[in-house]
């Protein structure tokens, strides 16, 4: 009796609990779904003065506190995205540009290039650094000999700076290197016909290891007094300066009397054209085999003529007074024939836009191949296969199945400009001459007029 009643009551109570538990579940709002709040823009500031007017308020080497409720508007042209600008952004309007010192990192997320800003200047300070006007929040005079302008700290940025709608990328002001006047200081400019002096090409933009900045001289075809200044913290500091000529976009700055250009990223430099330093291309290497000894395996100082397998060498031949090299697997009686002809090293450090070209002619073509390749890590020894070779997209003669082709085939101009330092150029022949009559690859190739040019 009591057993029945207690288990009954257990059942009832249990059901009650289950109900209660599920009721609880209903108000168990375990994870609130949070609505995205509207974007913060700050007060809708409207400019009541131009940046040019603001710059006029500043007396060089002085510190002025702005007490009036001046407001400027401007578009961000540079920030700390690549760390080439440090704790600062530059804004520009139709009249001029000014640097704003901000004491914070990762400013670019908020103040992206192209973002339009309004700056409430009341309470801020004007000063200059080596000739560039800056806006800051105060002056540190703890060392009276060298006071400096303090950047706006992170928690105060929203108090002075508002994000405004309608921003778009600032179009750089086109200018010649000779036309860099003071009113352009801080502005985003695009200077045409620029190139680095030869000694400053192929150099790292700055020294990241020691975190030291670097200046590289830029010049137009005649003048050389503009410097590309790059911070030792710039994320692209390890990249190498280009060798060509073209347009450079960046912020025009001065350091006292020195004119400088500061880029936002390497894509600001479009120096891909021919340098203006010499007229016409300069020949870095040329070989027409006119001094070779006919019908002998070609040998000359600096050259390598190597048979990797099969015992065949590039041999000098002569047809109607023209000397050239020839190679074929014919009569080698080997299952594989691989041979290399490697030019002496060619230095590409003092030139730009280098190209390679040569002529080929084929005979009795049955499928052997000739390749033109380039390497920067070949050691000059007898095992070229151990080096890393880049195949060049050369046009090689082919298809002359009976006898030799009547005309030489031009290889096309093969671009070498992405290589630097000492490079080796190799011609690699691959064929075979098995004992079976079928499957022979014994094409003969002739090679002549090898030339590397640059400027």
């Amino acid at each position: 009796m009591s057993m029945v009643s207690s288990s009954m009551s257990f059942k009832n109570v249990f059901i009650q609990w289950v109900c209660i538990f599920f009721l609880w579940g209903s108000f168990c709002n375990c994870e609130k779904v949070w609505d995205a709040p509207p974007m913060y823009t700050g007060p809708a500031l409207k400019a009541n003065m131009s940046i040019k007017d603001l710059l006029r308020l500043h007396i060089p080497n002085n510190y002025e506190k702005i007490s009036a409720d001046y407001i400027i508007e401007g578009t961000v042209t540079a920030n700390d995205k690549t760390d080439n600008f440090y704790k600062s952004i530059i804004i520009q309007d139709a009249t001029a540009a000014v640097t704003i010192k901000l004491d914070g990192y990762n400013l670019f997320s908020k103040y992206a290039v192209g973002q339009k800003l309004g700056i409430a200047l009341g309470g801020l300070w004007l000063s200059d650094y080596a000739g560039m006007t800056q806006i800051g929040v105060g002056v540190d005079r703890s060392d009276p000999a060298s006071p400096f302008l303090l950047g706006i700290p992170q928690p105060l940025m929203n108090r002075f700076i508002s994000l405004l709608a309608g921003g778009k990328l600032m179009i750089p002001i086109p200018v010649l290197a000779t036309g860099l006047v003071d009113s352009l200081k801080g502005c985003l400019v695009a200077i045409d016909q620029l190139e680095f002096v030869v000694s400053d090409t192929g150099k790292p933009y700055s020294d990241l290891v020691n975190q030291l900045p670097a200046s590289h001289t830029l010049r137009t075809c005649a003048i050389g007094n503009l410097y590309l200044r790059t911070s030792g913290f710039a994320s692209f500091g390890n990249a190498l300066t280009p060798r060509g000529n073209g347009t450079a976009t960046g912020i025009y700055t001065v350091f006292r009397t020195q004119k400088q250009l500061v880029i936002r990223d390497t894509s600001d430099l479009k120096l891909t054209g021919l340098r203006c330093s010499v007229t016409g291309p300069k020949t870095l290497f040329a070989e027409d085999f006119s001094t070779a000894i006919t019908d002998s395996s070609f040998a000359s100082a600096g050259y390598k003529n190597i048979s990797e397998v099969g015992g065949k060498y590039f041999t000098a031949k002569k047809t109607s007074a023209n000397l050239y090299l020839e190679i074929s697997a014919f009569a080698a009686r080997q299952n594989a024939v691989i041979s290399w002809f490697i030019l002496p090293p060619i230095n590409l450090d003092h030139s730009a836009n280098e190209i390679l070209h040569f002529d080929t002619k084929d005979g009795f073509d049955n499928g052997a191949i000739l390749q033109a390749m380039v390497s920067t890590n070949y050691d000059g020894g007898n095992s070229p296969a151990r080096a890393k070779w880049t195949l060049l997209p050369a046009v090689i003669a082919k298809g002359s199945v009976s006898g030799f082709a009547p005309q030489w085939m031009f290889s096309n101009n093969l671009d070498l400009s992405k290589f630097k330092g000492n490079v080796y150029i190799a011609f690699r022949y691959e064929g075979n001459d098995p004992s079976a009559a079928i499957g022979k690859l014994t094409t003969s190739f002739r090679l002549d007029n090898i030339m590397v040019q640059g400027n």
Binding site: S2, M3, S6, S7, F10, V13, F14, W17, I20, F21, W24, C28, N29, C30, W34, D35, A36, P37, P38, M39, Y40, T41, D103, G104, Y105, N106, L107, F108, S109, K110, A112, Q115, G123, V137, G138, V139, D140, S142, L150, P153, Q154, P155, L156, N158, R159, L163, L208, V209, N238
Partner: protein
């Protein structure tokens, strides 16, 4: 050492022989060995996140016992002194244990009782014994702290149903409890069940909501007089928003209730740091009664659960934490700028909170479109600069325990046990909320300084470089920690006319290793795959005696020598990134001696205990941003020795039939007793940067007050009872930063106008007084129908009555230190806020 073990084994064999004899002499009970059933356990409100905790998931101040026993000292120490983080004998939670149906519920990762398993289920642990220390422990070998043995089997609970409602201003505002137990039914079955809910939209701390539930279901079947089978399922799903440690300067600007973890979003307080735990556990146990009063208890339990905690993560954004040191006026040395910041914060107290709108705006400004690989139709526009991440610890535990007991004649008791625990933690991170952005990139921004060395060092997973991470996808670290612990012990105790003695031996084996699941760019060779497995064997031996002069005076002596394996997180230097371990791997050695005296008369009870505990060769690992090296570093500390010595006293006067007065005192001297060895290695390339010595000999152990006293006055009249308590807690030391006590940190002292003591002295927190009261009234009647008793009980508990705002419960020096200018105020200490005035009021109906 071996000689001692041999002696003890002989001792056990003798005890077996003795068991055959019979002794009819009556012996007075030993009052030093408390074994009590707790009536109405309160709950410990203290669960505070320790930012230095290795994985940020474990609360640091878990009270060492959930229940107090009848000893007035332990009662006060567990509840009253807990407001200041008091640790009995200076011992942390790893020196205590909790057993449910004989099964140890602990985490091998932390070494602590696994509180998350049974949080909130204390009302079902009515049948609980709390045993102090190593003496007379029938459940296990025992630890220097408390052993809480809860019997949650349905059979032991009386037939009863209960409903209770609590209102409080602590972690939760409301608690609802429904529970029932059938008691033993005639067919041999017994059932018990419990459900609770603990809820607060905002608890004691500002912006800290709480949503916790608890459930327990026990089913027992008594097969016959000898065999009982029991099955219990329990768990506590809890989501709790957290209070952060705060700077003194923040309190000055943002008020005494300041919590930097939340900010306003669309008019509501949103807390970025929210922990979620749910550790469902199934325990099967069986109790067998064998002939000759022998007992065998077997229990096996499995826990499969997840702990997680959210937090902000950012890349290419300013630090979004509102109390970042550069956002406070004191950072600005320029007076005018400092004044401007001061004025800004006074005008905008909201600046102390998180700026959710700013974070969403930053993400909304992003314009970096990517195409998700494998699905060219999905174009993601916005890359997150700030996200909420969820750090997850998915756990599996399997534990089994076998306990055998046999009387040794009339006088003695022999206990032996073995247990084994297999535990696995899977640690990883997920994107919890992209805050309006479309994706995040799996890049380690702190490795970017090393980018010049190799181009892929900043990848968290070089097998999936620049991985696009969407909501709820894994990113960052991903590894498994695996543990196995096996232990066996045997012990005996005898109760003679004038002496009680006990002795025991335990041998514990630990093994663990790390299994990396991703290959990161910084450590491609050490990050992925299984690490070496580390083995430790830890012997322990204990013995003790009580001399019973007469029924009034008791004298006791207890001795312990033990070893403990190091914790996983103190062996692996940076387990999130790699499987490198510290240079000097050592087990910790512990020696303890305790002298007790107890006096008992009708008028007064006096208890005095003196103890000396020496801990040797502990180790620790700290990871933080080092301003000297300009990078994150790992500080591996070894050779940490500690001495804990002190006195515990309690005097209990029965002034009147209804009135009693208790005087409680704890006097401690807990300090480090060695110079620690230090190896500093870079977090980014594991290069050893520095080896040295930390000069901290005689520095104080932090967190716990080393001096505490209390006066409790209890008055009881019929079914009304009340206790008024005054507590005093002093000698509260701050956790110190070892870096400031090295040669390197003080090298620049000669050239700077800074006093050595400013760098090296250990700071102290002010003394704390609290006043508390507990009032209760019960009404009981009997139902006419079946004469069942029914009770309504009201309990009101008031704590820290005189203190309106939160109190400084503890503090620590930040590990980051301005090593160039030795400016200790650049990264000033942070403080844990404890409860000021807090209360709970409960009405329960038992029927």
């Amino acid at each position: 050492m071996r000689g001692i073990y041999l002696c003890l084994i002989c001792f056990f064999m003798l005890s077996f022989l003795q068991a055959q004899k019979r002794n009819k002499q009556k012996t007075p009970p030993n009052l030093l060995m408390q074994k009590v059933v707790v009536s109405e356990p309160d709950e410990i409100p203290i669960v505070i996140l320790d930012p230095d905790a290795k994985n940020g998931l474990e609360p640091s101040f878990v009270a060492s016992s959930l229940h107090a026993n009848k000893d007035p000292f332990y009662n006060t120490a567990s509840f009253g002194f807990a407001a200041a983080g008091f640790m009995i004998k200076g011992l942390d939670a790893s020196f205590s244990q909790t057993l449910l149906n004989g099964l140890p519920i602990k985490s091998l990762l932390t070494g602590n009782p696994h509180f998350a398993v049974y949080s909130g289920l204390q009302p079902m642990m009515r049948k609980t014994v709390v045993l102090d220390g190593i003496a007379g422990n029938e459940l296990s070998f025992g630890l220097l702290g408390n052993t809480t043995g809860a019997d949650i089997r349905a059979l032991v609970m009386p037939k009863q149903n209960k409903i209770a409602v609590t209102t409080a201003n602590r972690a939760y505002a409301h608690k609802y409890v429904v529970q029932m137990s059938t008691g033993p039914l005639k067919n041999g079955w017994a059932f018990a069940a419990h459900l609770n809910a603990r809820l607060a939209s905002e608890g004691y701390y500002s912006g800290c909501g709480y949503e916790g539930y608890g459930y327990l279901l026990s089913v027992d079947k008594k097969l016959n007089e000898r065999v009982i089978l029991s099955l219990s399922l329990l768990g506590a799903p809890i989501a709790a928003e957290r209070q952060a440690p705060v700077l003194q300067e923040s309190l000055q600007y943002f008020g005494a209730n300041y919590n930097p973890n939340w900010g306003m979003q669309n008019g509501l307080k949103r807390n970025a740091v929210k922990s979620t735990t749910h550790m469902p556990t199934l325990i099967f146990s069986t109790a067998l009664t064998l002939p000759a009063a022998q007992k065998l208890n077997f229990a096996i339990g499995v826990t499969i659960g997840v702990k997680s905690i959210t937090g902000l993560d950012w890349n290419s954004a300013a630090d979004p934490r509102a109390d970042y040191y550069k956002y406070l006026p004191s950072y600005y040395k320029d007076a005018a700028l400092g004044a401007l910041m001061h004025q800004e914060l006074l005008q905008n107290p909201g600046k102390g909170q998180l700026d959710w709108t700013g974070m969403y705006s930053l993400n909304a400004l992003s314009n970096e479109p990517v195409i998700v690989s494998g699905n060219p139709n999905v174009l993601l526009q916005k890359k997150a600069a700030v996200i909420l991440e969820n750090r997850i610890d998915a756990q599996h535990t399997l534990v089994a325990s076998l306990l055998y007991q046999s009387p040794l004649g009339k006088l003695g008791l022999f206990t032996a046990g073995i247990n084994a625990q297999l535990e696995r933690h899977h640690f990883y991170k997920k994107v919890h909320d992209l805050l309006g952005a479309d994706y995040y990139v799996n890049i380690n921004q702190f490795a970017e300084d090393a980018l010049q060395i190799r181009t892929d060092v900043n990848q968290f997973d070089i097998e999936n470089p620049n991985q696009i991470i969407l909501q709820n996808q894994k990113f960052g670290y991903n590894y498994i920690a695996k543990f196995l612990q096996t232990a066996a012990f045997l012990q005996s105790s005898w109760t003679f006319a004038r002496f009680d003695i006990f002795a025991g031996l335990q041998l514990t084996g630990n093994r663990f290793n790390r299994i990396g699941l991703v290959k990161n760019g910084l450590f491609p060779l050490q990050s992925k795959g299984a690490s070496h497995t580390y083995y430790f064997t830890s012997p322990e031996a204990k013995m003790g005696a009580t001399y019973k002069l007469n029924g009034r005076h008791y004298f006791a002596l207890e001795l312990l020598s033990a070893a403990r394996a190091p914790l996983f997180d103190n062996l692996f230097v940076a387990p999130k990134m790699r499987s490198t371990v510290t240079d000097n791997i050592s087990s910790e050695k512990i020696r303890s001696a305790l002298l007790g005296y107890q006096y008992q008369s009708n008028f007064c009870k006096v208890g005095i205990r003196a103890f000396l505990i020496a801990q040797k060769d502990a180790q620790d690992i700290l990871t933080f941003y080092h301003d000297g090296y300009h990078s994150f570093v790992n500080y591996a500390l070894t050779g940490i020795n500690k001495i804990m010595q002190g006195l515990e006293t309690s005097i209990d006067f029965s002034l009147h039939e209804n009135l009693s007065l208790q005087l409680i005192g704890a006097l401690g001297d807990y300090r480090f007793s060695s110079r620690q060895q230090l190896v500093v290695s870079s977090d980014n390339d594991a290069a050893v940067l520095e080896k040295g010595i930390v000069y901290v000999n005689n520095f104080k152990v932090a967190r716990t007050p080393q001096r505490a006293a209390a006066v409790n006055i209890s008055y009881r009249l019929g079914s009304f009872f009340s206790i008024i308590s005054v507590h005093y807690m002093d000698k509260r030391w701050m956790s110190f930063n070892p870096i400031r006590r090295t040669y390197g940190a003080t090298a620049a002292l000669d050239t700077l106008p800074v006093q050595r003591s400013q760098i090296t002295a250990q700071a102290q927190l002010p003394a704390m007084f609290t006043l508390g009261a507990l009032l209760g009234q019960s009404i009981r009647w009997y139902r006419v129908k079946n004469k069942q008793p029914q009770t309504i009980m009201c309990i009101v508990s008031l704590n820290n009555i005189l203190q309106n705002s939160p109190v400084l419960m503890g503090g620590y020096e930040q590990l980051r230190f301005d090593i160039a200018k030795l400016d200790v105020n650049k990264f000033p200490p942070k403080y844990f806020l404890g409860y000021g005035f807090n209360f709970s009021a409960t009405i329960s109906f038992t029927f």
